[in-house]
């Protein structure tokens, strides 16, 4: 289909800008004045609406159908939340409004902090980080500030990460100025405790761990791991990407973690918007509270809510204002509609994942044959070995059955990985239809692998050439070319 720029005709427009009559504009000095206008699209309003509506029909969301993208927790996003964020008191509130004019917003943030403290089992929360990876970086900055304050900053330079970790973990370690120590996974899918013991010492600052892991497995040795790190004087960071498995059942604080980030756009239903926004609040143990980003949202003795900028040990600000407030509105609303029943949410997520696993494990390889938590990782290596069908081929063929594919080729330690997270959203009928499709695809691989190799057949485009895109990157429209039909 056309680009919006290819629908453009000089002289058309969708906007009318009120022009203040009789008011002169000041002269802009020549060297500061725009010489040539930007080539923004020129379209009437209805063309704009049709263009973006057509684009939307070429996209798949949770509202469209089942989206078992592992590690992404693609659950239903309640529509009431979209109405709530448009309340003028939220939507049109300026972030520099005086505190007495923002009591409702501050109270909402404070209440959200209180809920997150209870859900994580920790003592203090900062809502500021904009997403999970910024939560990670913020957490590592807190750890760095904590050790600097104890005069152990020079000594503790290393952060330990298992080989199953999200790539954000090692990337955050480097950005925080730390060095990486990799630790292996054992045959049951837990951290290799012997490898860990050999690598944790007085130079270790922290562990970063996702639990349950990206394999969808709860680390059975978590208590031993806690003893190893705290015994060495190091801290423990919890990547909350998989919190959807354990809400109301087990809390990171109870597992011994000192810092946690929560992905509001995963567990607590902020819609992911095709790649964001997210929200990555962090919750910490008391010892780390003085270092949290400023300002902090507090409730004063008189019951009024306020921003506390007087935090002498704070690491500073990690983004503007108090964080992505609209995300807080949605996630707070979501959590209020569950309350203590968040446990039912996690139980349903774990039950759904185990059911799908049980139905699929005969047809695909299962590298770690255990009950899973909210997700699990299969391998298509049997299909590759026997029929030449890869995880990519399975994923592309699933599209033809009307499902979004799972996460593929992650975690890196599983070849031909298919990481499946059904979430608690979904009826049993949908889960069964997905399992039937996966089993049919395994049969197709044996009978006629070409139907997988040439998939998808029923999407707006066929399989796309990523090599071509990377070799000669075309990352913006070239205006001189003729319009494409």
């Amino acid at each position: 289909m056309k680009l919006i720029y290819e629908r453009s005709q000089a002289g058309r427009r969708a906007s009318v800008i009120p022009r203040p009559a009789g008011l002169p504009a000041p002269e802009i000095p020549d060297d500061l004045r725009r010489a040539e206008p930007p080539r923004l699209p020129e379209v009437p309003e209805f063309e704009l609406v049709r263009h973006f509506t057509e684009l939307s029909t070429r996209n798949f969301g949770v509202d469209t159908g089942f989206y078992p993208l592992g590690s992404c927790t693609m659950k239903y996003n309640p529509r009431i939340n979209e109405r709530l964020v448009t309340l003028p008191g939220f939507a049109h509130l300026h972030p520099h409004q005086e505190e007495d004019g923002a009591q409702g917003a501050l109270e909402l943030e404070w209440r959200l902090q209180e809920i997150l403290k209870e859900v994580t089992g920790l003592d203090a929360v900062s809502l500021q980080p904009a997403a999970g990876s910024q939560g990670e970086l913020t957490g590592l900055m807190l750890i760095r500030a904590y050790f600097a304050d104890r005069r152990e900053g020079e000594q503790r330079r290393k952060v330990v990460i298992p080989d199953t970790a999200h790539g954000t973990n090692p990337a955050s370690v480097t950005m925080a100025g730390y060095e990486l120590t990799d630790v292996k996974t054992d045959a049951r899918g837990n951290i290799d405790v012997d490898d860990l013991r050999a690598k944790v010492d007085e130079h270790t600052a922290a562990l970063m761990l996702t639990n349950p892991s990206t394999l969808g497995l709860f680390d059975e040795n978590i208590e031993e791991i806690e003893r190893i790190f705290h015994g060495a004087g190091a801290l423990m960071y919890y990547d909350g990407a998989n919190l959807n498995a354990v809400c109301g059942i087990s809390r990171p604080g109870d597992m011994g973690f000192d810092v946690v980030h929560i992905n509001l756009h995963k567990t607590f239903s902020q819609p992911h918007g095709g790649g964001g926004p997210g929200g990555g609040p962090i919750a910490v143990r008391k010892i780390l509270e003085p270092f949290l980003p400023a300002p902090a949202v507090v409730r004063k003795k008189d019951g009024a809510f306020a921003l506390d900028h007087d935090r002498p040990k704070s690491i500073g600000k990690v983004r503007g204002f108090t964080g992505p407030f609209g995300v807080f509105v949605r996630s707070y609303a979501y959590m209020r509609m569950y309350g203590p029943r968040l446990r039912e949410m996690s139980e349903a997520a774990v039950l759904n994942a185990n059911y799908v696993l049980a139905r699929l494990k005969g047809a695909y390889d299962l590298p770690f044959d255990r009950l899973c938590m909210h997700e699990f990782v299969l391998s298509a290596r049997n299909l590759k070995r026997d029929h030449g069908a890869t995880a990519t081929d399975v994923a592309k063929r699933l599209m033809d059955y009307g499902f979004h594919p799972p996460t593929i080729y992650f975690p890196l330690i599983v070849p031909e990985a298919l990481m499946i997270e059904p979430t608690e959203t979904e009826t049993k009928e949908t889960l069964d239809a997905f399992c039937d499709a996966m089993l049919a695809i395994a049969r197709e691989a044996a009978d006629d692998v070409e139907i997988l190799k040439s998939a998808p057949h029923h999407r707006p485009v066929r399989r796309l050439d990523e090599v071509r895109a990377a070799k000669n990157p075309v990352v913006k429209h070239a205006f001189e070319t003729a319009p494409v039909a």
Partner: protein, 450 residues
């Protein structure tokens, strides 16, 4: 217990599923959790609310905020009350956009991917740059991202930032810099703009030089000269720009900047008490492999039809891990889509007219506050865009309090960030403000400022 509206399994479903799995109960599925880490009680949270009850509770919270529909507001300082047209809501509420994840599977995600490609094009057009990413978190964090680019591109250990750059941007850069091994040096302003010689002196040995155009006081910087000073020192020249100024102000790419970035909120996002918004980040071609975050590229499918994919992914954390150009993964795609829709709605003429309206109304406000309220401009010799600093005659925070009691928020108290400015208000005037509203501001300030 009543079935929860966001859950689906019936008792019969559960039994059949447990039988298929081969366990007796849901509890058994959690058998890997040691007893010592289990909560063992109900979460201590208030009971679940129905949608009806929730709506009432949220309406009560919202009503305790004084938003710009209840108070005539001249607040800006980085976040602005521009008009957001209905078409933005229409597009962003499409469930196919709203409820999609990052477009890892391009054949499922052509809508999002093409819209990002169109957004990248719009940002490159606005800024005069060659490559834009799919967005960053906000105008603050993209400045930190740019420092990471500069650190790796130059190997140097210092970043220079002008004091007339948004204080929150400077704070975020300072928070990130130690981890990058960068020292932050600030260059003071002189009479509201940055002194070119002072900047040139500070730039020696710098990886990057960051300035804002128009700057935090609304004053137009001698941006081409600042960029030249940075380039002279082999530092990356980085302009933090207001996207809505770029119909009337020159694009950073046209005066030699290496990187242009900024806060996108003004272009298509609601203020929403500070977020979520989008930060934009664009650079010259030579930095394409150092860009943080997602980039969408054009390609073809097996039948030769045009399509779009995430590209140059080897820069990113999921492949390059500890050597990645950033840790970012989730960005602000939906808000950037709002930006694209808004810029499309504006078009090039609308963008220019909007800039001119802000200029004209700002000039009118400056005149009225001097003539009618008897106030003095802090930087009377400077050309300003959308925002200007004025002496309120006494402590600005008290003036704000007293003016708000009369239903007008007169602006931002610059004393929060700058010494010697306790009596200074930063007044923002967008195209939404009318001459009558500006007169009212002047009347109120005439009464409360002295």
């Amino acid at each position: 217990m009543t079935q929860h509206p966001f859950l689906a399994l019936t008792e019969a479903d559960r039994e059949e599923m447990l039988r298929t799995i081969g366990v007796a109960s849901v509890d058994e599925l959690f058998g890997d959790l040691p007893a010592g880490v289990r909560l063992g009680r109900e979460l201590d949270l208030e009971p679940a609310l129905s949608e009806h009850e929730l709506s009432a509770h949220m309406a009560d919270l919202a009503a305790r905020n004084v938003d710009v529909t209840r108070e005539l507001s001249f607040l800006g300082a980085g976040i602005y009350d521009h008009y957001v047209p209905a078409v933005v809501d229409t597009v962003l509420q499409r469930g196919e956009f709203l409820t999609a994840y990052t477009p890892y599977q391009p054949e499922m995600s052509q809508g999002v991917l093409q819209s990002i490609f169109e957004y990248q094009t719009a940002i490159c057009e606005l800024t005069g740059m060659d490559v834009s990413n799919a967005s960053g978190y906000d105008g603050e964090t993209v400045a930190a991202d740019a420092c990471y680019i500069a650190k790796h591109a130059t190997g140097k250990a210092k970043v220079v930032i002008t004091e007339a750059t948004n204080p929150q941007v400077r704070q975020v850069v300072k928070t990130y810099a130690p981890g990058f091994g960068l020292e932050v040096v600030e260059v003071p302003h002189r009479d509201g703009t940055t002194d070119v010689d002072a900047l040139a002196a500070a730039s020696t040995g710098a990886a990057a030089v960051i300035f804002q155009q128009p700057n935090f006081f609304g004053c137009l910087e001698p941006a081409p000269d600042l960029a030249a000073a940075a380039n002279e020192a082999d530092a990356l020249s980085i302009a933090h720009v207001d996207p809505l100024s770029l119909g009337v102000l020159e694009a950073p790419g046209r005066y030699g900047c290496a990187i242009a970035l900024g806060e996108g909120q003004a272009a298509g996002n609601l203020m929403a008490y500070g977020g979520p918004h989008y930060g934009f980040l664009a650079a010259r071609q030579e930095f394409i492999r150092r860009m943080p975050g997602r980039i969408v590229g054009e390609t073809v499918d097996t039948e030769g039809a045009r399509g779009y994919v995430l590209t140059l992914q080897t820069r990113e954390q999921h492949i390059r891990r500890e050597k990645a150009t950033s840790n970012i993964t989730t960005n602000q795609t939906l808000l950037a889509l709002g930006g694209l829709v808004y810029l499309t709605w504006l078009g090039p003429q609308g963008l220019r007219e909007l800039g001119e309206a802000c200029l004209a109304l700002g000039e009118y406000a400056k005149r009225r506050l001097q003539e009618r309220a008897g106030l003095e401009l802090v930087f009377p010799d400077r050309t300003t865009f959308k925002e200007f600093a004025v002496r309120a005659g006494r402590n600005a925070r008290e003036v704000i309090r007293d003016a708000r009691a009369l239903g007008v928020h007169p602006g931002y108290a610059l004393g929060r960030d700058y010494e010697g400015m306790d009596d200074v208000l930063l007044v923002a005037v967008t195209e939404k403000r009318t001459p009558e509203e500006i007169d009212r501001l002047a009347d109120v300030l005439a009464e409360v400022a002295r």
